[in-house]
């Protein structure tokens, strides 16, 4: 929709220009794909700072793993040259398709935009937090701050980004990419908005991690040196959520259903990865 109060779109071509344009003012937002920004009224906005002119490579593969630029279109993840031993590859497709948005939207929407919008059902948050993704942040004053994605997203629509801070990229370590993953998703309609999304990861060294999104306002990650017993993990998930951010409920599903399904998924993930 037209953002009728926006008076300028400011393309920036380098970090200095970005810092100059994006000072953390409440009336200024970062524009990447624009698919969320243009989907709801934004009466508080006067300016959009366009990141796409920065020309960031969408993704880079090296020995450490995969670095995904914040401006990488979600649809472009299908083009990542996965190393043959990156067993986590199916998770990319699963999380991409977990989005309610159509493939047309996903071709434009970006990984960074999805993470920074910080919706509990943000499937790029699910993907990158489940693979131990670390966000590379550009603080306004310069330098780089690194923060796990699971800590970048702090709640429904909330992030740990400081005013003027920009998500530059998410780095996924090769160790996590080589892991086997198990994926479970709950939604009212088969292709509807996620109400619970659980990913298990078993690394080649045996380490195990379980990541819960969509049924919690922010990612909840549990780690073990080896695949735990299902009963133990379920109890841990329950405690971690209830002592932590609590369960999440919105128009896409009731709380008790999301809670029970998340716990069931945790047990199923253990079974699949054992």
């Amino acid at each position: 929709m037209d953002l009728t109060t926006v008076e300028a779109i400011l393309p920036v071509r380098d970090r200095a220009a970005l810092a100059g344009a994006h000072r953390g003012a409440a009336d200024t937002a970062l524009l990447a794909g624009g698919t969320w920004l243009f989907s709801v009224p934004q009466p508080h906005l006067r300016a959009l700072v366009d990141l796409t002119a920065l020309g960031w490579e969408p993704f880079e593969v090296d020995e450490q793993g995969l670095r995904i630029a914040a401006t990488c279109p979600i649809g472009a993840l299908a083009d990542v040259p996965f190393a043959p031993d990156w067993a986590a590859r199916p998770l990319f497709r699963q999380c991409t398709r977990a989005l309610l948005a159509s493939f047309k939207v996903r071709a434009v929407a970006t990984v960074g935009g999805n993470v920074c919008t910080a919706l509990p059902a943000g499937a790029m948050t699910s993907l990158t937090s489940a693979l131990d993704g670390v966000a590379e942040l550009w603080p306004r004053e310069g330098g780089v701050r690194r923060l796990p994605v699971a800590e970048l997203v702090t709640g429904d629509g909330r992030t740990a980004l400081a005013p003027g801070e920009v998500l530059r990229a998410v780095r996924l370590p090769a160790r996590a990419l080589r892991a086997r993953t198990a994926f479970r998703r709950l939604s009212r309609a088969r292709l509807g908005r996620s109400a619970a999304l659980v990913v298990g990861r078993r690394e080649q060294g045996g380490a195990f991690a379980l990541t819960v999104t969509a049924s919690t306002p922010r990612p909840v990650v549990l780690r073990h040196a080896a695949v735990p017993a299902a009963r133990e993990l379920v109890a841990q998930v329950e405690a971690a959520v209830e002592d932590g951010p609590g369960w999440f409920e919105d128009v896409h599903g009731d709380l008790d259903w999301r809670r029970a399904s998340t716990l069931r998924f945790a047990a199923e993930v253990v079974e699949e990865l054992s």
Binding site: G34, T35, F103, R190, H252, W257, S261
Partner: protein
């Protein structure tokens, strides 16, 4: 910047925050549609450098120097692309508003994507078709060509098909025509925006509009101080007294969140919005009642306590009672006490939004003669004209209302929701003014389906013969009474009359609440009550150990049985409301569904948590509304030997234009290319009640048939004289009137008639629907239910209809499929929720989930073989009815699968899961 669309470049200066969709429409590419404006429906899909994008989400500035292709760039009406031709041949649209985006998206799919269509069309919503025909258009190996012309009973494409699939068929705000033709405004319109109430109940204590009015570019600000003090109802009926007069154009009392507070008219939509932001409004919040049961309690806050009961036709404004209905035969209590088997339960249905892809919109202007013209997306142009004249204090002749093709209605456009504001603004400014509602407004402020609470009790003997049927119905009218009396009466009428029971009781009340108003919606209350009765009957069949089809056979009415209990709604007693058994095919429908349900379908998903069950339900519907539904029609032979047919009824995807053309083609022995249909314009004919109550084909059709037959007689008579023959010796053909080897062209017949009488041959026809028939639907489902997640998967869907003579099998199938799809939406997904403060939670089509392609299974559609004695050419209406039995058939199948009865709609996965908990 340079914008290149369909190969043509032009210089444009988009606004910074503008999206590509509005830029395209402003540059006359109105083939790009707005369905949601939030990237959810896909109607605005275009190709940018060959990739499909939702143009409402795409910053206009990004299109600089890129090739944009719209649906009109894929092919033209004269030269369709192969894919566009497939959409024509598969009848892959009804209203056609989603079609441009559907075609563009499908054009970009590769073989792999087509093979996974559910995933790749999940970003394209269609509210009409149920998707089967779209799937055929996109993926079928071969699509049989659909003829452009044909007589009644044949497969025929919609006359507008080639324009619809190229995006060139205009809708209300597609102002592309020549102003000289009188159907579009003479100059670009101003834009109207509405400020809406932030309170469920409040009084406006002060409004300061001075800053808004002073804003340059603002032409008018309307507050409650600036509007006529005339109470009316947004709900429109033939008899305006059917609905309570409880509404003002702008009211100082706000009775629901989202009610209009004020309106601003400005050069651009953005300026109009800015003006609203400058309004200083002071509110005095008042106590609100959000629940229909609480509203009827003594001491509840009053919604219309200020109204005079008699003047506004409200049953009791001091009790929030809009209307009530009580009637019965026999003694239900005694019959229940004596019954060998009894079942009962209380059922609840949800607030459901129509989600016509085209939101409510209208544009108005003054014509050369100073007459007010309103071009609107409406099902009822004549009724809107009459009420506009009344509210605005104009002579009826001073107002013209016309409706181009309507982008979906489903009853939602049997209301006057935008026309009053634009008309008033045009009268005040003298300028053309348009108002296009947003999807958020449609979801959270405009009328929805009435939520019902229905308590049902049934009694029967061991033989399965019903002895008692009682319903106690509570209807949530919302804040205004539009359609509430009618929905309540109709909801309790055919539903209860379907069964032959000696003891019946109906008690129904409609209550005002401080919530979004309820209004007309496909089925008009029947679906809600049928959900309760058919669910209870299923329980009864289980109690009896009897097959549910057999239980129905033993108890449904058959010709000769009276329609009991509320056949004359005004006084709850019986009388002749014109309802007859013009034909009867319910027995066939039951047999057809029972047989078909036993075969075919998808296998259940693997896994121990999936349970399989079957269920069925039926419904009866009167073919037209009671107490008169009127249609005038006129048929003329033109000087060039072609025909002009004029009707008042509107086309909103129901296919009446197709059927009416077929009727003309048959009665005038011609072909569709030689017929021009004028429609839905108060200038076209004297009167038409409108396209609701499934009346489009049967009432206007009957009127048109009469006009065409009279005209054919007249043309034969003149032709015979020219040929020196007797009228009975000549035959009418496409080219002329023929007698043996001799013939005279139609143009010559026209010329002769002009020579003799001063005008060409023409004839009028009319119908009053004084007699009405009954039509039947039976739905069967086999489902799999995952008790772990609560998901319901439909494995098999069968629907049989008794629609009399089938006027167009392709179109009838489409109407049934679309009704079933909407029924599935209501049954499984859809609900507008009001929070504790009355605020709606659903403002986008992400939050309000309507079925996607993946959610709608293919339904096998079966036709009973009957011929009606009342409808035109033996036909009965069939556009709203298929909705009605869907939810109970699904609930019964779920009950069969998991052993639990769900009594509340929608049966979302979380509710099903909860019901399955031990």
């Amino acid at each position: 910047m340079k914008l290149v669309v369909n190969g043509t470049a032009r210089e444009v200066e988009p606004r910074a925050g503008q999206c590509l969709r509005t830029l395209l429409r402003e540059t006359s590419h109105v083939e790009v549609k707005k369905g949601c404006d939030s990237g959810d429906c896909g109607a605005c899909t275009v190709l940018v450098e060959g990739s499909p994008v939702h143009s409402c989400l795409y910053p206009a500035l990004r299109a600089a120097d890129r090739e944009v292709t719209t649906v009109a760039g894929l092919g033209t009406a004269e030269d369709l692309s192969p894919l566009q031709q497939r959409f024509v041949d598969a009848a892959g649209f009804q209203c056609g508003f989603c079609t441009a985006g559907m075609v563009v998206t499908a054009s970009a799919l590769d073989d792999d994507q087509r093979a996974d269509l559910a995933e790749h069309l999940k970003g394209n919503l269609c509210r009409c078709t149920g998707y089967r025909s779209i799937r055929d258009a996109v993926t079928a190996d071969a699509v049989e060509p659909l003829p452009r012309s044909g007589a009644v009973g044949e497969r025929v494409a919609a006359p507008a098909a080639r324009r619809v699939v190229t995006g060139t068929e205009p809708y209300a705000l597609d102002l592309t025509g020549d102003p000289a033709d009188g159907a579009v405004p003479p100059t670009a319109p101003l834009h109207l925006a509405v400020l809406r109430s932030p309170h469920a109940h409040a009084r406006i204590t002060a409004v300061d509009a001075s800053a808004a009015r002073a804003l340059p570019g603002v032409h008018l600000v309307l507050t409650h101080e600036d509007v006529p003090a005339v109470l009316f109802s947004t709900g429109r009926h033939e008899n305006r007294l059917d609905d309570p007069d409880d509404t003002l154009v702008l009211d100082p009392v706000l009775r629901h969140r989202g009610q209009r507070v004020a309106a601003a008219v400005a050069e651009t939509p953005a300026l109009a919005e800015r003006a609203l932001g400058l309004l200083a409004v002071e509110y005095e919040p008042l106590p609100a009642v959000l629940d229909a049961e609480a509203a009827l309690e003594p001491g509840a806050p009053l919604v219309h306590g200020d109204k005079d009961a008699a003047a506004s036709r409200i049953a009791d404004p001091q009790r929030n009672l809009v209307a009530e209905l009580h009637g019965g035969v026999g003694d239900v209590e005694e019959a229940l006490a004596r019954a060998e088997f009894t079942v009962g339960g209380t059922y609840r249905t949800a607030r459901v939004s129509h989600v016509a892809l085209e939101t409510h919109s209208a544009v108005s202007w003054l014509d050369d003669g100073g007459r007010l013209v309103v071009r609107s997306s409406t099902q009822v142009p004549f009724l809107v004209r009459d009420e506009l004249a009344r509210v605005l204090g104009l002579e009826r002749e001073r107002v013209r209302v016309l409706a181009p093709r309507v982008g979906g209605g489903f009853g939602g456009k049997q209301e006057m929701l935008v026309e009053d504001l634009v008309a008033l603004a045009t009268l005040r400014t003298g300028r053309p003014v348009q108002h296009e509602t947003t999807r958020a407004e449609a979801l959270s402020a405009l009328p929805t389906r009435h939520p019902f609470r229905v308590a049902v009790r049934l009694g029967a003997g061991r033989d399965g013969v019903l002895t008692a049927l009682a319903v106690d119905v509570l209807v949530d009218a919302g804040a205004y009474g539009n359609h509430s009396p009618g929905v309540m009466f109709h909801g309790c009428h055919e539903s209860v009359a379907t069964y032959r029971v000696p003891n019946k009781r109906v008690d129904a009340r409609a209550a005002y609440t401080h919530t979004q108003p309820s209004g007309a919606f496909r089925g008009y209350g029947l679906g809600q009550v049928v959900f309760a009765i058919e669910s209870a009957l299923d329980d009864l069949a289980r109690e009896l150990g009897m097959d549910p089809f057999e239980l129905r056979r033993r108890n449904v009415v058959v010709p000769g049985d009276p329609f009991v209990v509320t056949s004359l709604p005004q006084d709850g007693s019986e009388g002749d409301d014109g309802l007859r058994y013009g034909s009867y095919g319910l027995d066939q429908c039951l047999d057809l569904v029972q047989e078909a349900l036993g075969r075919g379908g998808e296998p259940a998903p693997a896994g121990p948590s999936w349970r399989v069950g079957t269920g069925m339900a039926l419904s009866m519907i009167a073919t037209t509304p009671p107490r008169g539904h009127f249609a005038d029609a006129r048929a003329r032979l033109l000087a060039d030997g072609t025909w002009e047919l004029s009707v008042g009824t509107a086309e909103f995807g129901n296919g009446t234009t197709t059927v009416l053309t077929q009727i003309g083609v048959q009665a005038l022995a011609t072909s569709a290319e030689r017929v021009r249909l004028r429609q839905s314009d108060t200038d076209a004919v004297r009167h038409d009640t409108g396209a609701f109550g499934s009346a489009g084909s049967v009432v206007a059709g009957k009127a048109l048939l009469v006009a065409c037959e009279r005209l054919a007689d007249r043309v034969r008579e003149v032709g015979a004289q020219l040929l020196g023959a007797q009228p009975h010796e000549v035959a009418l053909g496409p080219e002329g009137v023929r007698c043996g080897a001799a013939s005279v062209p139609l143009a010559a017949v026209h010329a002769e008639c002009v020579r003799r009488t001063g005008s060409g041959p023409s004839a009028d026809g009319g119908d009053d629907a004084a007699l009405r028939s009954v039509a039947f639907d039976v739905q069967g489902f086999r489902v799999a239910v995952d008790v772990d997640s609560g998901q319901v998967r439909i494995l098999r869907s069968v629907h049989a209809v008794d629609a009399g003579t089938v006027l167009n099998p392709v179109q009838l199938r489409g109407q049934v499929e679309g009704g079933v799809a909407q029924g599935i939406g209501s049954a499984l997904f859809e609900q507008v929720r009001a929070g504790a403060d009355g605020a709606g939670a659903e403002t986008t089509l992400r939050e309000y989930y309507v079925p996607r392609l993946d959610d709608v299974p293919e339904t096998e559609v079966l036709f009973a073989d009957t011929c009606d004695t009342i409808g035109p050419l033996g036909a009965k209406s069939m556009s709203e009815a298929p909705y009605n039995p869907v939810a109970p058939a699904l609930a019964n199948a779920v009950r069969d699968a998991v052993g639990v009865r769900l009594r509340e709609l929608p049966m979302t996965a979380d509710r099903v899961w909860r019901a399955c908990r031990p």
